[in-house]
Every structure is written in C-alpha cells, then in structure tokens.
C-alpha cells in the first residue's frame, strides 16, 4: 500500500497520447485528491478534453498509468471498466443528452440499466435529481425543447443520478450566458458540498475556475505546468500562467 493511497483518488503518471503525428499529452503527471474540486485550465485544443476521456477510459493512452483507488485502469477489460464507470459521472461539453428519450428518461436510464429499483422508485429518484439542479415539470419533455443551460443541468442530473464518487465536467460554462454560467458554477459547488464528490472541471473560463476550484492546474504543451489554489494562481509570477489568466496575446504562449 502506498503512503498517499488514501488521499489520492486518482493518480496519473507519465501519461502520453498522440493522434497521428500530433502529440497531445506528453508524460503528464497529476494527482487528484479525494473530495476536492480540481480545475484544469488551458487553451482550446490543448488536450483537456482528451485528458478527461483518458481518465474515464473512453480513449486509450499510448503510455503511462492512471491509478483509480490504487488500481491501474489503463489495462482494465471492458467489464471492469464499466464497473469503474458506475462510480464516475460526466457532464459533456454539448450535454450529450439522448434525443430519442424524454428528459426524465435520460436521467433515469442509468438506474433502469443498473439498479434493482422499481419503476416508481426510478422516476422518483430521477425527479429528485432534476430538482437538485433546479428543474421541475420537465420529466416528459424532450431535450430538443430545452435551452442550452437547461440541457447542461439535465446532463448534470444524469451525471449524479448513480451517486458517483467522481464527477468530471467538460467545459461546463462554455456557450452559456454569464448568468447561466454562474448558476452552473453554483451547482457544481453545491453538488460537491451535498454529495461529497470529487470534481474535475476542465475549462478555459478563468472566472469559473476561480469560483469552483479548490485547486487550479494548468495544462500546457501536454503537461501540467502549474498547480495551486486560486489565491496562489492570482499571485503567481509564472509567465505562462499569468498570460493565460490575464488573457493577453503577448507572452510566452504564441497564438496560433
């Protein structure tokens, strides 16, 4: 048993991923502490979403290991991977709701497939989770009738319906108006408090990062180049991080 085994729910070591000739992640190391909200920031296309997909096994890495509660999950067979995923929830960038199912059925689907609950219990739990994200009376409507912000909230309700240990958020505030973005940020914090989950948020929205993060890590050129609390990030003299946080075109990061 490793010394820090209990503190770190996820430990990533030497993670590498290439798509064709393009290196996305290059021997990346990252620890995620149980119960924290870790925000990973970085430019668009720097590999943040790929990192989330690697953590969940949706994409296989070329090198390195991802330890989830002390077990390397990169070598998991499908069945084991599915068992592990039941302990994860994920909010996708475009919400990824199933458009052939009603809002309620979207949230209820994981329960229908994996729990032994009765129909009535499933509906009740799905409604509770929808209420948790501030939505009522939408059970029988379809995702196509919902606004972007509502879709995100439904996606969030679906992500937490199985009471996961870890919830991953892929650009949760992108494409939303500032007020709805703040609503989502508040929800992320509230869910973390109420459900005691570990959250990993990937974003390039600095305001959101400061708001929800216990710790902020910056991904740049395939590696984590900085990790610290929001206050440390505000005071940092790291030139790359400063340029990103202040949103300047001039600096060590060259706009492409």
């Amino acid at each position: 048993m490793e010394q820090h085994g209990d503190d770190h729910i996820i430990r990533i070591r030497g993670l590498g991923k290439k798509f064709g000739p393009h290196t996305v992640l290059d021997s990346l190391d990252l620890d995620i502490v149980r119960g924290e909200t870790l925000v990973i920031i970085g430019r668009s296309g720097c590999g943040k979403s790929v990192l989330l997909k690697l953590i969940t096994g949706l994409v296989k890495p070329d090198a390195g290991e991802i330890m989830f509660e002390g077990e390397d999950m990169t070598g998991f067979a499908r069945k084991k991977l599915f068992e592990m995923r039941m302990r994860f929830g994920m909010l996708f960038q475009g919400s990824a709701l199933f458009d052939s199912l009603s809002v309620g059925e979207n949230v209820a689907l994981p329960l229908r497939k994996h729990s032994k609950m009765t129909d009535e219990e499933i509906c009740r739990t799905a409604c509770e989770k929808l209420e948790l994200v501030g939505l009522t009376d939408v059970y029988d409507q379809f995702p196509a009738e919902m606004s972007g912000g509502m879709k995100k909230r439904i996606g969030l309700a679906r992500a937490v319906v199985m009471d996961p240990n870890v919830v991953l958020y892929d650009e949760p505030t992108t494409g939303l108006d500032p007020i709805m973005a703040d609503v989502i940020n508040e929800l992320i914090r509230a869910l973390q408090r109420e459900l005691e989950i570990t959250s990993v948020v990937v974003t390039h929205d600095i305001k959101s990062a400061y708001h929800v993060g216990d710790r902020i890590a910056m991904l740049h050129e395939g590696r984590i180049i900085y990790s610290g609390t929001p206050d440390e990030v505000r005071r940092t003299d790291n030139p790359v991080l400063r340029q990103f946080v202040e949103g300047k075109a001039e600096g060590p990061i060259k706009p492409i």
């Binding site: 949706l58 039941m86 994860f88 709701l97 994981p110």
Partner: protein, 263 residues
C-alpha cells in the same frame, strides 16, 4: 507515384474498414446472449425497419412484377406460348427479383437512416455518454437493429414476392389478355419449394448486411454534419455493393451446393 499512393491509401482504408467491421461483428456476437434483455428495443426497431418499409416495398414490388410480365410477353411473342409468362415471372421473382430488389430498396432506406442516426449520436458525444453510464452501445444500439433487420427482411421479401406476382398477374390479364387461370397454371408448372426457401435464405444475410453497414459507418463518423453525410453515403453504397456481391456467392452456395440439381 501519385496513382500508387492513391491505390495504397484506398487499400489501407479497405483493410482498416474490414478490421473494424470484424471487431464490431465480434462484439455483436458477444452481446447476443443479452438479446432477450433488449426485446422492447428490438420490437421498436422491427416496427421502424420492417413495418415502416412496407409502402416502399409495396410500390417497388407491384411495378417490378408488372414490368416482368410485359417484358416476358415481349420476349415470348411468336415463339413461346403466353401461359409460360406465369412460369418466368414466378421463377425470376422468387429466386432473384424479390429478394435482391427488396434488399436494395430497404438497404437504401434503412442503412442510411441507421448511419445518420448513429453518426449524429457519435458526433454529439451521445455514444460516449452511453459508455460513461456503463451501457454497451453495441448491445443497446447495434444488437436491436441487426436482429430486427435480419428478421424483418425475409418477412418483407415474402410480402414483396406476393405483390410482384400479383402485379404481374394483373398486367398479364389486362394488357396481354392472359387469364388468371392460365397465369396460375404457368406459375405452378415449374414451382419448387426449394426456390422459395433458397430465395428467402439469402435475405437473412442481406438484412444483416444492411444493419451492420449502417451501424459500422455510423460509429466511424468523424467531424460534424459533413461527416454524417459521408457516413450515410458510405453505408448505402457499401450495403448495396455487398448485397449484390454476396448474392452471387449465396446463390452459388444455395442452388449449386445445398439444393444442387440431381443429374
């Protein structure tokens, strides 16, 4: 060097597609024991793929039967007694026209719709979302569609055979003045059960091809709207080509080996 490079790229893509398809079929076979757990989904797909295709099959079959009748009369004129119109219509419809044309029109309709649906799900991350809630997309999406298409295509073919013969009979009666009785006796003259069985055996394979091509190209979709369009086109082209190619091999297998004429 350019033509060689193009040929090489084409060959690489072909091998990649072939490998991908084998993997998909392998995963589908693994999911087969869970067929009965997906009955509701399968019935829904049977309705969409099978019942939904009836109007298309109805029009196609009636007119194919009608034209076969007209062409047979034209060929026979002055050489062969017109009672044999029933014989030639029956043989060609039951052996080839019914199974192959049904497969082609249903293939166009169904593989395109499957590829577009799954392709859109893929580019909007719905397939990833399904994986994330620990639902196997092959079991939830591919299995119901493949089982439904494999069952429904033979059913549609029986329907098509009957309608084509009906169309031929009506046209023979109205425009060629062959009575229903004469047509029927011609139809029965060389009819053998094995023709019908052999023709229907092929359609199980065609149904499988239609669904699996739609699913494979849907899952392989990259990019946005353009990717979905490309996947749909690939699904239709590949399912139609595979139907025609496999038809030759299946006909050879069934009518030259399984039901080999005794000499």
């Amino acid at each position: 060097m350019a033509p060689i490079a193009v040929l090489g790229r084409f060959f690489l893509e072909f091998v990649q597609d072939l490998g991908g398809m084998f993997i998909l079929v392998g995963r589908l076979l693994q999911a087969i024991p869970r067929t009965f757990a997906n009955t509701r989904n399968i019935l829904q797909q049977m309705d969409r793929i099978g019942i939904g295709s009836i109007p298309l099959v109805l029009v196609t079959s009636l007119f194919v039967g009608a034209v076969t009748s007209v062409q047979a009369a034209y060929q026979f004129h002055g050489y062969v007694p017109l009672m044999y119109i029933g014989t030639v219509v029956g043989k060609s419809v039951i052996l080839e026209l019914g199974p192959v044309l049904t497969a082609l029109v249903v293939g166009g309709r169904v593989s395109a719709s499957i590829a577009a649906e799954l392709g859109t799900m893929k580019v909007t991350e719905q397939i990833d979302a399904m994986e994330m809630i620990a639902i196997d997309p092959v079991e939830y999406l591919v299995l119901p569609r493949t089982v439904a298409a494999t069952i429904m295509l033979p059913v549609l073919t029986v329907f098509s055979d009957l309608l084509a013969i009906l169309g031929a009979m009506v046209v023979a009666n109205i425009s060629i003045h062959v009575s229903f009785n004469t047509f029927e006796s011609g139809l029965k003259l060389l009819f053998r059960n094995q023709d019908l069985i052999g023709g229907l055996m092929k359609t199980f394979v065609f149904g499988f091809i239609i669904a699996i091509m739609g699913c494979y190209h849907g899952f392989e979709t990259r990019g946005g709207a353009e990717g979905v369009g490309l996947a749909t086109m690939k699904a239709v082209v590949s399912s139609c080509l595979l139907i025609l190619i496999s038809n030759y091999f299946l006909a050879s297998l069934i009518f030259r080996i399984i039901f080999a004429p005794s000499s």
